[in-house]
């Protein structure tokens, strides 16, 4: 069985990064950035999610490449759901 086993150090480093990013996003909500607030919040959240997915969930070392396709497909489908629905919401008030 050729599985990759991460070190304890890796996991703890990831955990510390996650805690720091949490503090960052909490603090960022006190900044006045207008429209950019949500962008920054989502970027930080995505960084955290990537750390959890790549390291904790082992996606970085995954042996079956098809599983990556599965994950990307899932995310892309969520994107379809949100964005196509939003085309309706956003353009409803257009002339």
């Amino acid at each position: 069985m050729s599985e990759h086993i991460a070190t304890k150090k890796t996991y703890i480093l990831v955990w510390m990064s996650l805690m720091c990013l949490t503090a960052a996003t909490a603090g960022a909500s006190y900044l006045e950035l207008g429209r950019f607030n949500i962008v920054l919040a989502m970027v930080i959240a995505t960084c955290k999610a990537l750390l959890v997915a790549l390291i904790f969930m082992g996606v970085k070392y995954i042996s079956q490449k098809i599983t990556l396709v599965v994950i990307v497909a899932g995310l892309f489908w969520l994107f379809i759901l949100v964005s196509l629905s939003m085309t309706d919401t956003i353009s409803r008030s257009w002339r």
């Binding site: 991460a6 955990w15 989502m42 082992g58």
Partner: protein, 225 residues
């Protein structure tokens, strides 16, 4: 009927009859777990879609609602879940190394963090309830746009409610895996169920990683109106 084809190696305990090798079985199991997690992405995705649509239309009330969230409890809860992810990952690692006692220890700590998360959620829910922030006949809100703020709270309760349900289920799964680990069902050769439960737990953590800023952190600077 014994399998005499050269495809079949000596039987590992836990190798099911329709798989040729343990590797094939594990690969199938992991892939199946990820496919299941994709269904969960779409399940929560429906609520995220609604959230996005209304946030676009009703930014002011969304801001109002968010500023009435309990910032500190929410932040602490985020940290609690991240810690639980660490202990879960360490538990999975221990199972990969066949360290039975360590596995059980880490899984039990993970459960503790999970229970802690639910406990804090309970405190928050109680607070919201007492403040009249549960939608329906008893909802009350003193600020502007109370109706759309009620809409925000509908999303808060639905999204965190489904998330909490998933945490609860996760606690059950981790407890089951801890019990099976204690009984010696897993080792270096076969620990796939531990990994799969780990995947589920981390996924539920990722959902919260997004819920936290969307519900609690819309902005502390903006003023609605």
């Amino acid at each position: 009927m014994s399998d005499s084809s050269p495809n079949f190696t000596a039987h590992s305990p836990g190798l099911q009859h329709h798989f040729a090798t343990m590797e094939q079985q594990t690969d199938a199991s992991v892939m199946g777990m990820w496919v299941f997690l994709v269904t969960e992405i779409m399940f929560f995705g429906g609520m995220f879609t609604g959230y996005m649509i209304y946030r676009y239309t009703y930014y002011g009330p969304w801001l109002e609602g968010s500023q009435h969230m309990d910032f500190w409890w929410g932040t602490i809860n985020t940290a609690v879940l991240l810690c639980s992810s660490l202990t879960m990952a360490l538990g999975v690692r221990a199972s990969q190394l066949g360290q039975r006692r360590l596995v059980v220890a880490f899984l039990l700590i993970t459960i503790l963090f999970g229970v802690g998360f639910l406990g804090i959620k309970g405190i928050e829910y109680h607070g919201h309830w007492v403040d009249g922030q549960f939608p329906g006949a008893h909802f009350r809100f003193a600020g502007p746009n109370p109706r759309q703020v009620e809409l925000f709270f509908s999303f808060y309760w639905a999204m965190t409610g489904f998330h909490a349900l998933h945490v609860l289920i996760g606690i059950g799964l981790v407890a089951y895996i801890a019990y099976r680990s204690w009984k010696g069902a897993y080792g270096r050769e076969y620990h796939n169920p531990v990994e799969n439960v780990g995947l589920y737990w981390h996924f539920v953590d990722i959902v919260w990683i997004y819920l936290y800023p969307l519900l609690y952190l819309i902005s502390h600077k903006h003023v609605s109106g």
